[in-house]
Amino acid sequence: MNRQRYATLVILALLALVPLLAWALHRPDFITLATQVAIFAIAAVALDLLLGHTGLPSFGHAGFFGLGGYTVGILAFHAADGSQFLGFIPGATAAWVVWPAAILAAALAALVIGALSLRTTGVSFIMITLAFAQMLFFLFVSLKLYGGDDGLGFRSRNPVPGISPRDNTGFYYVCLVALLLVLAGCHRVTRSRFGQVLAGIRQNERRIAAIGLSPYRYKLAAFVLSGAVAGLAGALYANMLRFISPDALDWTLSGEFMVMVVLGGAGTLMGPVLGAAALVLLQSALSQWTEHWMIVMGPVLVLVVLAAPRGIWGLVGGRGR
C-alpha cells in the first residue's frame, strides 16, 4: 500500500517537473509530448473505470473522446462566423463554457449508447460499442460543414483565465491539473458504496442480483461517468492541436485506449496513466527511427503483457488493486 502511494507521488512529481526538464535540455517538444500523455491518460483512466473496475470492455471510447473534441471545434467554428449550431446554440470559446459543454455532449451520447449497449454482455457488448463509435465516425466524415474527412481547425485554444492561449507550458499544467482531478475523483468513486457495487458487478454479476440489486442502472451510471470524462479528454485534445478530425473518433484510437489500460494495469487507475505514457513515448521514439514503428511496437506490447500480466503498475506499485 505504501509502495503504491510512493510510486503515485513519484510519477505525479515527475509529470509536474517535465517543463523544467524541457527547459534545461532545450527540448520544448517534451512539453507537447507530456501534454499528449496527460490527455490520453485522462481518457485511459476513464476507460479503466469501466473496463478495469466494472469489467465492461467498451470498444467505443474514441466515440466519446472525439465527440468532446468536436464540441470544441464546432463551438469555435460558430463563434468565428457568428452563426448558430442547430440554429439556436451560439458558438463559444471560453473554456468554462466549452469544456462543460463537451463533457455534457459526451455524457448524453454515453447515456443513449450505454442504455442500448448494456442490454448485451461479453463479445456482443464489445461489438455494439464499437458499432456505435463507428456510426459517430461516419457521421462526422459526412458533415461537410465541419470539414468532413479533412477535419476542422480553429484559430486559438479556449481561453483559461490567467493563462495565455499561446502558452504551451500553461496549457500543459491545465491538462495535468485535469488529470489530477480525474484521478482523485475516480479514486474516491471506486471506494464509495457506488464503487463497491461496480467492483461487485465485475467480480460476480449474478451474485449482485442474488443479493438484491439490479445491476443495469449502476452499469449505466458508470458508463455515463466514464464517457463524460473521455469527453473532457477529447476537448483538451482538440485544444492541444487546435484541430479536430474524424481520426479522433476512429476505432483504432478506441483500441489504443484499451491497450493503455491493459498495458498499464487494469483496475488500478494509476496503471492506465503509465500505460498512456508508455504508448505515447514509445510511439514518438519509434517513429523517429522508422515510419513502420508498429512493427517494433507490437512485439514490445507482447513482451510486456507476457512478462507483466498485472501491467506496468504491477511491476512499479507491487501487489493489490
Binding site: 474516491r188 468513486v189 471506494r191 464509495s192 458504496r193 457506488f194 464503487g195 463497491q196 457495487v197 467492483a199 461487485g200 467480480q203 460476480n204 449474478r206 451474485r207 449482485i208 442480483a209 442474488a210 443479493i211 438484491g212 440489486l213 439490479s214 449502476y218 451510471a221 488493486r321
Partner: protein
Amino acid sequence: MTALLIATGLVKRFGGLRAADGLDLAVEQGELHALIGPNGAGKSTAIALLAGELAPDAGRIRLGAADITRLSTAARVRAGLARSYQTTSLFADFTALQNLALVLQIRAGHSFRGWTPAAADPRLAAPATALLARFALRPDTPARDLSHGEQRQLELAMAVATGASLLLLDEPMAGLGPAESEAMTETLATLKRDATILLVEHDMDAVFALADRVTVLVAGRAIATGTPEAIRADPVVRRAYLGEDA
C-alpha cells in the same frame, strides 16, 4: 401454520427435457423444508425458478400474499426471498468483510452514494463484523484464499445478510468433509430459529436431522411431502429414491 411460499404447477422445459413438470411446493412459515431427490430430479432448477433466475413456462409462485412470478431476482430478494449457491459464488477479490458489507449496503439502499468511502462506514462495518463472528470467518482474507469450508460458510452468511425471511439453500454441504459438514449442520440448526428455509441437500443425515418436513422430487415433480419419519416410511419414496433397503 400458514404457507410463506407457494409454488403451483411450475413447468420448465429445456428442449425435450422437463426439468420442472407441474411442480407444486408449499413452504410453511418458520419451518425448515428439505427438498431431496436423485440427481437430475430438477432440484437446482426448482431453486432457480423460485429465485427468479429462470422464468417458468407455466405456473405461479406466491410469497406471503404477493404473486412474485414475474419479479426479477433482485426484486424477490427485496421482497424477502434470497438464495445461496451450490457452486460457491462470492466476490472473490473482496475480503469476507467486504463481501458481507456489500450485501448490507445493498440491503440498506443508498448504493448510488458515490463520494463517501464505504470501508470507513461503521453502519456497514459493525453488523458485517457481527456476522463474521457468527459464521466464524476471518475478516481480512480475500474470499478466493479462504478454505473451501470457510467459503461455504461465507456463501451462507451472504444469503443470511440479505435479511430475507425465506432462504433457499442449494446444497450448503457440497464438497465439505465430515467435520465441516457437522459444523454446517450446527450453523443451519441455529439459523432455522430465525428464518424459514428451503434446503436442497444430498447429505441425508443432515436432512433427517434438520428438516421439519421433506419433499421428494423425481423427474421434475413432487412425489411426496411429509415429516422425515413419514418420508422414510413411504413405500413410493423408497422405491423411487431411497432404495428398498433404506
